[in-house]
């Protein structure tokens, strides 16, 4: 009789235990995320994102409403667009008027015997357009620099957080490597853009203005070279970053995957019943870590978009308008003024690509840290 009771008690306890395990694991999963949130300070990340991302809400709420938040960002940008367009069109109109004047002078004196006198009108027109465009370029450059700085600050807050969450999720080696690479290359880009790219853009503008205002074809080679140099510097940095990240990611990612598998099998094989529970709890921590990682990652990417969207619009509108004005001017006056306007548009394009390169690199590093398998 007592043996039957004893055996029933053992069977009952085994049954209860086996029922209890999934409940345990589930409870672990829910509280694991809270535990992680306690450990990892996401408020620093949210603060570093700045005012532009206050509307994005907190990190925890983001994953459930990503497309909604993205639509909100797009709406905000679209609503800011008319004001930007209005100022841009005003600028373009003034430039068109100045060039109409110069075209007028050109046609007036086309039958004249001398070319030197009406050339002075073209020179004055070129200088006026440049003076006007330089104020615009100054503000665009400061907007671009500010967004690059904001991107760097934000990345300094988000990348360590993301990499520590990824390390908690089991990808210690690769996350460390990727964080180091991203930090290195982003710092490199920041110093390069301040000390090399912005002076190059100024130099390119100066040569374009000198070439168009005072004539002379010798300067056209120099300006083309400067433009090529600027684009090459930016392309080289981005390509090197992506290349380095891919290689190091692949190498370290496989190591991490092997480590995780090894840890799991070791756990479950050494401890028979408890090992299963512990291993399940561990994977729930891993899952919670990965979901938190994707939340932080999504928040990071949306913040990058929010930081960069309106500056892009502003600089891009200037670029497009200058190029369009150049095409229009080419209709009624050939020669130096359309070339000048087109060159000024290219300078704006260089500013856009400078900001864009930084945004792409931040994006890419965030993406690689989120995935952490392979690249």
């Amino acid at each position: 009789m007592r043996r039957i009771v004893f055996i029933t008690a053992i069977v009952l306890s085994i049954l209860l235990l086996s029922l209890f395990t999934p409940l345990c694991a589930h409870a672990y999963e829910e509280s694991a995320e809270d535990l992680l949130l306690d450990k990892i300070d996401v408020t620093a990340v949210e603060n570093a994102a700045g005012d532009t991302t206050k509307e994005l809400g907190g990190v925890t709420k983001i994953a459930s409403n990503t497309s909604g938040k993205l639509n909100e960002l797009v709406d905000k940008a679209v609503s800011a667009l008319p004001a930007i367009l209005r100022t841009g069109v005003k600028n373009a109109a003034v430039i068109l008027v100045i060039s109409i004047f110069c075209g007028l002078a050109d046609t007036l004196f086309r039958g004249g015997t001398s070319r030197s006198v009406p050339d002075t009108v073209s020179m004055a027109g070129c200088l006026a357009i440049t003076a006007f465009a330089l104020t615009d370029m100054d503000s665009c450059l400061s907007v671009g620099k500010k967004s690059i700085e904001q991107l760097c600050i934000f990345s300094k807050a988000v990348l360590p957080t993301l990499s520590s969450v990824a390390a908690l999720g089991g990808y210690a080696v690769s996350s460390g490597v990727k964080y180091a690479a991203s930090a290195l290359f982003l710092d490199l880009l920041l110093t390069l853009s301040e000390n090399v790219i912005v002076p190059l853009i100024y130099a390119y503008t100066a040569t374009i203005v000198a070439e168009c205002a005072f004539g002379g074809n010798s300067l056209s080679g120099i300006s083309a070279f400067l433009k090529w140099l600027t684009t090459t510097v930016m392309t080289v940095v981005v390509l090197a970053f992506i290349f380095y990240l891919s290689i190091s990611g692949i190498v370290s990612g496989t190591a991490d995957a092997a480590n995780i598998r090894l840890a799991k099998t070791t756990l479950s094989s050494t401890l028979p019943v408890v090992g299963g529970i512990v291993s399940d709890a561990a994977s729930s921590v891993l899952t919670a870590a990965s979901s938190l990682k994707s939340s932080i990652g999504i928040f990071g990417m949306l913040s990058v978009v929010a930081i960069c969207l309106i500056p892009f619009l502003r600089i891009g509108v200037s670029y497009l308008l200058f190029k369009a004005a150049s095409r229009l001017i080419m209709i009624f006056s050939s020669g130096r003024i359309p070339k000048l306007t087109s060159g000024l548009g290219s300078a704006f394009g260089l500013i856009v690509s400078m900001t864009g390169v930084c945004a792409i690199m931040t994006f890419f590093s965030l993406l690689s840290l989120i995935k952490t398998t392979g690249v």
Partner: protein, 128 residues
Amino acid sequence: MDLLIKGAAVCIGASVLALVLKKSNPEMSMLIGLLAAVMALAEALLLFTSVRDFLTGIEAASGISSVFYAPVLKALGLSLAAEFAANVCRDAGQGAAASAVEFLGVISALYVSLPLISSVMDMLGRLI
């Protein structure tokens, strides 16, 4: 259109008369041609006042300071005057005087654009 017809009529009539007087009184013929040119130019400039008002309207609407395109306007006026004077001198057969007036016109336009040049140099020189 009427203005153009009037100006064209004046110039054509004056040219014919100038040709008539060319053999006997060449100086008189040149003066007649000169007078016709002056009158036609004055008519054209009176038309230009409306363009200039349009420009002033744009300046007021866009809030751009006149520092930018005042030199362009002045250079246009200077080159107009210089070209006209040079051609008159050339009509009278004085090529040297004509080129001297042209040179004067170029120098004056440069002088007028000097503030613009210096402000552009300032803006570009901020990288140093």
